[in-house]
């Protein structure tokens, strides 16, 4: 028999092995135990509050004005409707990332897609909405169908209209493993999103994303912390130099590996 006290301790991560595993087995075997556990759950664990506070601080922290001033407009803001100068864009990105470092806002270690999405997009991750911008489920975090289609067909530096927003891919790169990855921005009414996604089959998996409340057309502001995050993610992927327009077009139309 498992006591309520023990169940609560289990849920709050305060139980030692092997009891933890034993309770997990009991949960799997007995729906009644599961129901009791759910009833007990109240989210009051001390660790919950500590974690929530740590991320609330991050989410509430405005992008420091000094960082905004130091950052030259990223490629998104600078891009003409034609093809951007990739070498210059990359150089500018590296430079601005260096200028922003160290950045408290997003630590590279904290940039796993699930966390970034769960935290920063929040309401953008919708349940039961098959056409959400970003979909997070048990298979991972990926672009919704509309965004995925736009990512697969929109050249860098040009805009594509999405329901409720505008997509602008910034660059395309090959990751060290050969995956095609794209950095892009999405401007919506209240928020701007910057993200990096890599193509796996028909899906665009979100590697990292960051959003900020922004007034219309304030790409630069939204890109502040997100840019640093994306630079770190590109490094982690061992991404090569941005593809030029021709290579990009070929990569986008090429049969998926």
């Amino acid at each position: 028999m498992i006591s309520d006290t023990e169940l609560l301790a289990y849920l709050n991560g305060q139980l030692a092995e092997p009891r933890m595993t034993e309770i997990e087995s009991a949960l799997a075997a007995d729906a009644a135990v599961m129901a009791r556990l759910e009833a007990l759950a109240d989210g009051s664990a001390a660790v919950d509050q500590t974690v929530a506070a740590a991320f609330d601080a991050v989410l509430a922290e405005p992008v420091p004005p000094a960082l905004l001033a130091a950052a030259s407009p990223p490629p998104l803001a600078a891009a003409s409707p034609t093809v951007v100068d990739f070498a210059a864009a990359r150089a500018a990105r590296d430079q601005s990332a260096a200028a922003r470092s160290p950045i408290r806002w997003w630590q590279p270690a904290a940039l796993a897609a699930s966390l970034a999405i769960g935290l920063v997009i929040g309401t953008g991750v919708q349940k039961g909405d098959s056409d959400a911008l970003i979909i997070a489920d048990s298979t991972g975090t990926r672009a919704g169908p509309t965004l995925a289609a736009a990512l697969a067909s929109t050249r860098s530096g040009t805009d594509a209209k999405l329901p409720g927003g505008v997509l602008r891919p910034l660059i395309s790169v090959r990751a060290g493993n050969g995956d095609l990855c794209r950095q892009f921005g999405v401007q919506q009414d209240q928020t701007a999103l910057v993200a990096l996604a890599c193509r796996r089959g028909d899906q665009w998996q979100i590697v990292v994303a960051s959003s900020a409340v922004a007034s219309r057309n304030e790409y630069a502001q939204a890109a502040g912390p997100g840019e640093a995050a994306i630079t770190a993610a590109l490094d982690a992927l061992a991404a090569g130099e941005p593809l030029d327009a021709e290579a990009e077009a070929k990569a986008l139309t090429a049969p998926k590996p």
Partner: protein, 81 residues
């Protein structure tokens, strides 16, 4: 924040950094649930619906994540063990 004691703010930031680093060190499947349940405040059932996984899986992953965080944060002196 302007006018606030500088040391206090620095201390809070250090704590925040440690907590975020501890979260970042979790396996991806646990981190996803930490984001949804601990930070976004979704109920277990809601998180299960969002991710389309059984609620039991949600609970065990959250429990595992909490256990790891409690251990790490106690070690870092952020939380009493």
């Amino acid at each position: 924040m302007p006018g606030e004691d500088g040391n206090h703010t620095q201390e809070q930031r250090d704590t925040g950094d440690r907590v975020r680093a501890a979260v970042a060190a979790l396996p991806a499947e646990q981190r996803q649930l930490v984001a949804l349940v601990l930070v976004e405040g979704l109920a277990y059932r809601e998180a299960a619906e969002v991710l389309n996984i059984p609620i039991g899986t949600v609970m065990s992953r959250v429990a595992r994540a909490r256990a790891a965080l409690v251990g790490q944060l106690a070690q870092a002196g952020v939380m009493p063990s």
